[in-house]
Amino acid sequence: EAGVAQSPRYKIIEKRQSVAFWCNPISGHATLYWYQQILGQGPKLLIQFQNNGVVDDSQLPKDRFSAERLKGVDSTLKIQPAKLEDSAVYLCASSLRLAGAGSGNEQFFGPGTRLTVL
């Protein structure tokens, strides 16, 4: 079974530029998550989708970050304009379902995209 795919793996941009990250979840997984992981810290949830609808985006800085999941499969996360403090690893994860009993709510993570803002 293929895992969660992300691209690019690395990105270096100047501040005030824009950047986009792509994620392809595990086939059949309804729930998709984007996390921001600053060096030396645990991942922080930015947004989560159930199919193509947003479940929670309370921690997404909406003045500069946006995300979409068209057709309930792939997702893109965009930052425009980027700030120095956006330098982090952006992780995408997916799960079979959002919650409930059993193992179906376990999240599987992609390799991440390391963003450096200069």
Binding site: Y33, L45, A99
Partner: protein, 119 residues
């Protein structure tokens, strides 16, 4: 609301020996899951072990086991017969079992513990 605290920023162990990583949590949820994730330097986050809070029996996965103390809100990870490949950042995490309210079934991570394995 959920909080997860890992009080050990770094731990080290000799190969073949046993090490225990600590984790405490707080949650207002009545039913929840607890997880340990491993993140090697390559960054791919891998699930090590999961515990359902309503189960009293501690989860085990080969060399990995947990000590779940529900009343104390403690969830430690024991790695037996440590191997060089166990070296990584380990994250403790909690997740409500329900997606209702404001939790949305959100997974909350601790700050992580870097584990070094010495040959």
């Amino acid at each position: 609301a959920q909080t997860v605290t890992q009080s050990q920023p770094e731990m080290s162990v000799q190969e073949a020996e046993t090490v225990t990583l600590s984790c405490t949590y707080d949650t207002s949820e009545s039913d929840y899951y607890l997880f340990w994730y491993k993140q090697p330097p390559s960054r791919q986050m891998i699930l090590v072990i999961r515990q359902e809070a309503y189960k009293q029996q501690n989860a085990t996965e080969n060399r990995f086991s947990v000590n779940f103390q529900k009343a104390a809100k403690s969830f430690s990870l024991k790695i037996s017969d440590s191997q060089l490949g166990d070296a990584a950042m380990y994250f403790c995490a909690s997740k409500p079992s329900n997606a209702g309210g404001t939790s949305y079934g959100k997974l909350t991570f601790g700050q992580g513990t870097i584990l070094t394995v010495h040959p």
